[in-house]
Amino acid sequence: MSAESHEVHHDGEHESMSKKRIWQVAGILTFITCIEFIIALAIVPSHPELLKYANPVYIVLTLFKAFYIVAYFMHLKFEKMGLILSLVIPIIFIIGLILVLTNESHHWVDLRF
C-alpha cells in the first residue's frame, strides 16, 4: 500500500519536472540575470538619474529568481500545501529582522558620522 502510493507520487513528479520544463526554467534564470547585467552595465552608466530605481528592480528580479529556483528546481511547488506553508511562513522572521535592522541603521548614521 505504502509502496504503491510512493510510485504514484513519483509518477506525478516525473510529469511536473520534464526535461523541457527544466530547460525553460534555466532559460528564465539566465534571462533575468542578463537583464540585471544590462541594467548594471548599460542603462545605469548612461542614465545616472535612474540609479535610485535600479536597486528595487534588482531586488524584485532576485526574488523572481529565488522563486523559480525554489519552486521548480527544488520542486517545492509540487509538494503538499502543508510542507510549503511550514517552510514559507517562517520567512516572516527574516522579513521582521530586515524591517528592524533597516530602521535601526537609519539611527546609527547619527551615531557613527
Partner: protein
C-alpha cells in the same frame, strides 16, 4: 440499537488524522528542507547585518570600481564580467543537478552519473573562480582587518573623508570575505557530498535500493547554494 455510525466514530481519512505521512515526503527529505530553512536564517542574518552597516554608512566602495578585473586577462575596465561568469557557472551546475534528479526518476544510472559529474565540475569551476577573485582582492590589499592604502581607496569612492573611506572599506572587506567565504564553504561541502553520492551511484547503491532519493536530497542542498549566491550576487555586486 442504532446501526448508523455517529459522526464522531467514523474513521477519519484526512491527511492529518494519523496513520499516514501528511507531507507525502520521505523523512530525510523533510529534514533536509528544515536544515535549509535554518541555513537560510544564518545567511539572512549575515546579509541583513551587511545591509544595515551599509545603510548606516554615508559612503561605500562602489562595486563596479572594486570588481573590475578578470583574473588572468584584464586588470581594469571589465566590471562584473568575472562575477557574471561565476553566476552562470553556478546556474548551469544547478541545471545539471536537476537533470541528474530527473534521470534518477527514470532509474537511468549512467545518465545520473554523467549529470552528477557535470555538477561536480561546475562546483569546482566556481570554487576556482572564487579563489582567483579572493586572490585578486587580497593582492590589492583587502583582507579581514586590512584595506589598501588611502590613495588607492580614493579611486573606489565618490566623496567622503579619508577616515570614513578607511572605515567603510574595512567593513566592506570584512563582510565580503565572511559572507562569500561562508557561501564558498557551502559550495565546497556541496562538492564533497556530490562526489560521495556520485561514487554511491556508480557502485549501484541506489539501484539496489530502488530509488535515487539521495540524489534529490543532495540536489536540494545544491540548489540552496545556488539560491544563496543569487542573493550574494545581487547585494554585493549589483546594489
Amino acid at each position: 440499537m442504532s446501526t448508523t455510525v455517529s459522526q464522531i466514530d467514523e474513521v477519519k481519512t484526512s491527511p492529518w488524522s494519523g496513520g499516514r505521512s501528511p507531507f507525502n515526503v520521505e523523512y530525510g527529505k523533510i529534514m533536509m528542507w528544515f536544515f535549509l530553512l535554518s541555513d537560510a536564517f544564518t545567511f539572512s542574518s549575515l546579509l541583513i547585518a551587511y545591509g544595515s552597516l551599509r545603510f548606516s554608512a554615508s559612503v561605500w566602495p562602489g562595486a563596479d570600481k572594486v570588481f573590475q578585473s578578470v583574473p588572468g586577462l584584464v586588470d581594469h575596465g571589465a566590471p562584473l564580467v568575472f562575477v557574471g561568469l561565476m553566476t552562470f557557472i553556478l546556474i548551469a551546475s544547478s541545471v545539471t543537478m536537476v537533470l541528474a534528479v530527473e534521470a534518477g526518476h527514470r532509474n537511468a544510472k549512467s545518465e545520473v552519473v554523467g549529470w552528477m559529474i557535470a555538477t561536480v565540475i561546475g562546483g569546482l569551476m566556481f570554487l576556482g573562480c572564487q579563489a582567483l577573485e579572493w586572490g585578486h582582492l587580497h593582492h590589492e590589499g583587502f583582507w579581514w582587518g586590512s584595506v589598501p592604502p588611502a590613495e588607492e581607496l580614493k579611486k573606489l569612492f565618490t566623496g567622503g573623508t579619508e577616515a570614513v573611506q578607511h572605515m567603510t572599506s574595512q567593513e566592506f572587506a570584512n563582510l565580503f570575505f565572511t559572507i562569500t567565504g561562508f557561501h564558498g564553504f557551502h559550495v565546497f561541502t556541496g562538492v564533497i557530498i556530490n562526489i560521495i553520492i556520485t561514487v554511491n551511484v556508480l557502485m549501484g547503491t541506489y539501484e539496489k535500493r530502488g530509488s535515487y532519493l539521495m540524489v534529490e536530497k543532495v540536489g536540494l542542498y545544491w540548489h540552496f547554494v545556488d539560491l544563496v549566491w543569487v542573493f550574494v550576487f545581487t547585494f554585493f555586486y549589483l546594489v
